[in-house]
């Protein structure tokens, strides 16, 4: 049994895949805690889709694809904040306008090419087994920068997320940190992009943090538990993918969703039992 479980990791590409997923889990859990509790799920999806523009530009110009995705996601994050402030439209409207424009621009560029290349498709659907050593280095640098930023500004992020009025009254640069949160989501998306793909990346922000929130009620514990759930889903999903020969990112996301449903079931059942017992 142990051998069967460890078998996939005799391959270097599987080791790299696991390392990539550890990075995705850590970043997704930490940022996901904010995403879930600030109702920014749509932002995560939008920023993921917007990276298509950057990916397409990088492909067309022969530039670095991850860098292209990062620039596109950060630009979209700032664009969402800016559109909302200037146009005085609701958050989801600002997101809807900005990301659709970016995504359409990506499609436009791609349509100029004669065929979809497998490389381009790997960003859309994820290619965990194709993660290279340089991809890992890039993702590690981004993940480290993100974690240092969160640790350095944790109190400010918490104040702004919980009570922006009080935060401003206590001279926190509230607007700056509201933008910073969008940029953090953008960075998390890019860290996960190559491994999970544009279409499914948002799941790694939402599902583990949502699962954690069923069980714990303080931001640091939500973050920790979310990282744990994300890693669990990654390891199980990767095993399933290897042995059943199915797409890894889909297997991981489905595992995460199954863990969420299972946890929800257990939590509902214990609460109901508690109510019945106290009645």
């Amino acid at each position: 049994m142990i051998d069967w479980l460890l078998e996939p990791y005799s391959f270097a590409f599987m080791q790299r895949a696991l390392l990539a997923l550890v990075l995705v889990s850590v970043v997704g859990g930490v940022v996901g805690a904010f995403v879930v509790h600030k109702g920014l799920a749509f932002s995560g999806d939008a920023l993921a889709h917007s990276t298509l523009a950057g990916v397409a530009v990088a492909f067309a110009s022969g530039g670095n694809v991850s860098l292209g995705a990062l620039v596109a996601a950060v630009a979209t994050a700032l664009g969402i904040g800016w559109t909302r402030e200037r146009a005085r439209v609701s958050y989801d409207t600002a997101i809807g306008i900005t990301f659709v424009a970016m995504f359409a621009f990506g499609i436009l560029l791609i349509s100029r090419r004669t065929a979809y290349t497998p490389d381009l498709l790997s960003f859309v659907f994820g290619n965990i087994l194709g993660v290279s050593a340089s991809d890992l280095v890039g993702a590690s640098v981004l993940a480290a920068a993100l974690l240092v930023f969160v640790a350095a500004t944790y109190r400010e992020q918490l104040l702004v997320a919980y009570d922006p009025a009080m935060a401003s009254a206590a001279s926190v640069a509230t607007r700056l940190f509201q933008y910073a949160l969008l940029v953090m989501i953008a960075v998390a998306v890019v860290v996960a992009l190559k491994a999970i793909g544009i279409v499914l990346v948002n799941a790694m922000l939402i599902i583990p943090a949502a699962t954690a929130s069923l069980l714990v009620r303080r931001l640091p514990t939500v973050m920790l538990a979310a990282v744990g759930f994300a890693m669990l889903a990654s390891v199980i999903g990767l095993e399933v993918s290897f042995h059943a020969d199915v797409a890894a990112s889909a297997a991981i996301v489905l595992t995460a969703a199954a863990i969420f449903l299972g946890t929800l079931g257990v939590v509902s059942w214990t609460r109901r039992s508690a109510r019945v017992a106290s009645a």
């Binding site: 805690a33 509790h37 600030k38 640790a151 350095a152 500004t153 944790y154 109190r155 400010e156 918490l158 104040l159 997320a161 919980y162 009570d163 009025a165 009080m166 935060a167 401003s168 009254a169 206590a170 001279s171 926190v172 640069a173 929130s213 714990v216 009620r217 303080r218 931001l219 514990t221 939500v222």
Partner: protein, 289 residues
């Protein structure tokens, strides 16, 4: 001003030693001068607001819903940009004196679903500015626990703040304002939905703060707590209707003008005056366990 005060608030003894002013403005915790503010495309919500909060006093800011009490607080704190006028705290512009001011918004403005404990919320009051990798110190934690104790929420300190009732949430935010250790507290509707006993206890807490030389401005539409506990009162309905010592301000004429309707004054048990208005407390906020 008409001198037909309904009753002088007795029972409350304003026995505070006046603080020695080191500065011409130091006698005033807050000076609001000609403040006008509002929201885009609408007439100003408040206009030409001028009044002063003396150091070491409890002052009630009275007005019906929609009178501009919250708008006034927000423009004092610089959360809304006033179109005219200014606010000085301890003789300095408010933005330079933020460490000296605690602001308690209405509970509806806070994201109660966010995963924070009561303690987490209260200790936020200790925030003193950005330090990279800043953490709460032992002194911050002690101040937060002391404030939680003052508002009577010790058994709830580790609970998820969102699991508390409306009245308890108000006490959490009040504890956060107290924990700040500020010399000026601006409290927006701190008593709505609290039962009389809790309200009385919290007024005693605020009275204690005033005795320590702190100044408290309480926005409320509850006249009885102002009449019984505040040294001074300001009546607001887009403009200042009257300001001054509570007994002089709370006259039938001023209140009728403030609330824009005829008020019925009911002398009741003790020296408390009760004034019936159409104001109602949202049912959501009154579920004190």
């Amino acid at each position: 001003m008409a001198r037909d005060a309904l009753t002088a608030p007795s029972g409350h003894v304003p026995a505070r030693e006046p603080l020695a002013p080191q500065h011409p403005h130091a006698a005033y915790a807050l000076e609001v001068r000609g403040l006008t503010a509002g929201y885009d495309g609408a007439p100003p919500a408040i206009e030409g607001i001028t009044f002063r909060v003396p150091v070491g006093e409890l002052m009630g800011l009275i007005g019906p819903n929609g009178a501009g009490k919250s708008t006034l607080f927000k423009s004092i704190m610089g959360l809304l940009h006033p179109t005219a006028g200014e606010a000085l705290a301890f003789g300095r512009p408010v933005r330079e004196a933020r460490a000296e001011i605690a602001y308690m918004p209405q509970i509806e403005e806070v994201d109660w679903a966010f995963p924070v404990s009561v303690f987490d919320v209260v200790v936020m009051g200790r925030y003193r500015g950005f330090r990279p990798f800043g953490r709460w110190t032992a002194a911050d934690r002690e101040a937060a626990m002391a404030a939680i104790e003052r508002v009577g929420l010790v058994p709830f300190a580790k609970r998820h703040a969102g699991a508390l009732s409306g009245g308890q949430r108000r006490r959490v935010l009040m504890a956060r304002s107290i924990a700040r250790g500020a010399r000026l507290l601006l409290l927006d509707e701190p008593f709505a939905g609290l039962d009389a006993g809790v309200q009385h206890d919290l007024l005693e807490v605020l009275d204690g703060l005033a005795h320590e030389g702190r100044s408290v401005l309480i926005a409320t539409h509850d006249l009885s707590c102002v009449a019984s506990s505040c040294d001074e009162a300001v009546c607001l309905n887009r403009r200042i209707i009257a300001a001054g010592p509570t007994a002089e301000v709370l006259t039938e004429r001023v209140l009728a003008e403030t609330f824009q309707r005829h008020l019925l004054a009911i002398p009741s048990v003790g020296d408390l005056i009760r004034v019936a208005t159409d104001e109602h407390v949202p049912a959501e906020g009154r579920d004190e366990p």
